[in-house]
């Protein structure tokens, strides 16, 4: 067998193995409804998973891109929607919004999940008790995180922005009247 033929066969073996592994990796994701999966749009999440309500902010800073750059979601065992938004100028993820079921003990973390918490305090967002964190996110970037509960979900917004802007985004996701907290 010529050397070139051997090299080509070896390359073909590697490509075949990669394709086989990709296929084997796809099987559980295709049939398992408890997998967190990537979705193209909010509409896909609503129609595909039939999640009762996907909360979105009505106030949205200009520097962020819409629609979300990345959406991860799951219906079972507990509903979860996690969105990442990109800073148009910098091309990096600047905000994430997570809507996780209150029963979900370890929901998927954001790509910009705070790594160091510097301070935290209780605040009110449209009369709902919330927790505000001043933190450092990955790549040593300062960030703000705010967390509250509504309609059986725990909402977490993490953004590389000011406290004022983050609370404004959080307020824009809520109606005036607090909603019951059951699932």
């Amino acid at each position: 067998m010529s050397r070139l033929r051997m090299i080509l066969l070896f390359a073909a073996m590697v490509v075949s193995l990669v394709l086989l592994l990709r296929f084997l990796n796809w099987i559980p994701a295709a049939f398992q409804k408890t997998e967190v999966r990537r979705y193209r749009s909010i509409e896909d999440v609503r129609s595909g998973l039939k999640i009762r309500k996907v909360f979105l902010p009505s106030y949205f800073p200009q520097y962020l891109t819409w629609p979300p750059d990345e959406i991860f979601a799951r219906k079972r065992p507990y509903p979860l929607v996690l969105m990442h938004f990109t800073n148009q100028q910098r091309g990096e993820i600047a905000m994430s919004i997570r809507q996780a079921d209150v029963r979900d003990a370890s929901p998927v973390v954001s790509r910009i999940e705070p790594v160091i918490i510097h301070s935290e305090e209780n605040i009110l967002i449209k009369d709902r008790p919330a927790r505000l964190f001043i933190a450092t996110c990955p790549a040593k970037r300062a960030c703000i995180s705010v967390m509250w509960q509504e309609e059986g979900y725990v909402f977490t917004i993490t953004a590389k922005d000011s406290v004022r802007e983050v609370t404004k985004i959080a307020e824009s996701m809520l109606s005036e009247e607090p909603q019951p907290n059951g699932p």
Partner: protein, 327 residues
Amino acid sequence: MRFFESYAGMYMLQSVVHSLVALFIVEMSLRIWSVEDSHERFRYRLLVMVLPFIMFPAFQFINPERGSFYFIQDSALFSSLRWVRIEMFGKMPFAYAFLCVVSAVAVIVILQEILPIVRDRIAEPRGFDCRHPDPAVEAMVTELSVRMGVSKPSVCVIDDERPFIFTSGTKAHTIVISEPLFRLLDMRQLRSALAHELAHIVRRSNVTTLLVFFIRIFMFYNPVSLLEFRMLVQDDEHICDDITVSITRDPEGLASALRLFWLDMPQREKIRLAEVKQVIETSSHNLQLHERIVRLEEGRAFTDASYGWGRFGATLATIVVMNYFIV
């Protein structure tokens, strides 16, 4: 099944998957590169044994985020966790199947490897009378040692009704021969058998086998390690056969000596359950001997092929890179 998310669980799961992938790549490479040389085959097979043992901790050290959700989403070729998490009717069949396989392998390793060692340690040390062989045999060992470039080992003849020959020790070696061999083997066959034992000393087979054995015991749950260990031992025998033939230039002498180690099977129409283990071991032993004899008779031993470091490097790199993306 939180176990599979712990470090130990991830190590267990990933090392088995890494072993399977390494086995596939190595076996395919041996065919594609047409590797016939026993030395080279041995080194390829060593990759299947050693790499899965060290890859997971090394990968986690290089990138602690390797097992994270985003690594699996963005970079991973295959996630074994996805399979063990599959639920059907409230159960996790693949997780249970995996645990059943590793438990079965663990039981085999414990019964076959660990228990006999423990039993030997606990048992009364069996002393045996060791005496020197005839001067003619001593002279043969001296001559072969000089030719093979090793210091002459001591030779110990013991009284035992079973015919056997083996080399003990990792630094100071002793060739142990049972008395019946001197009656069963002629001088030509004995010369081949002694040269074969000296080849094990040249190769430091006892040290290599001991190291590989430790890996096998550490990965007591891994079915691939169980299989691969046997293949490595067989490859080591092939290498020593090749070295023997290169010194004696007498493959028939070694082949005929090997035939004497053929074990008899129980000659009954129905084999009792208690004899199953013995039958399996005897068959396996005879099969391995047969393969070695055929190899010697067909002149496949002592093929002085050039060593392909490039293709070995390509195989090694493929195993490491691919397994990095298998979590």
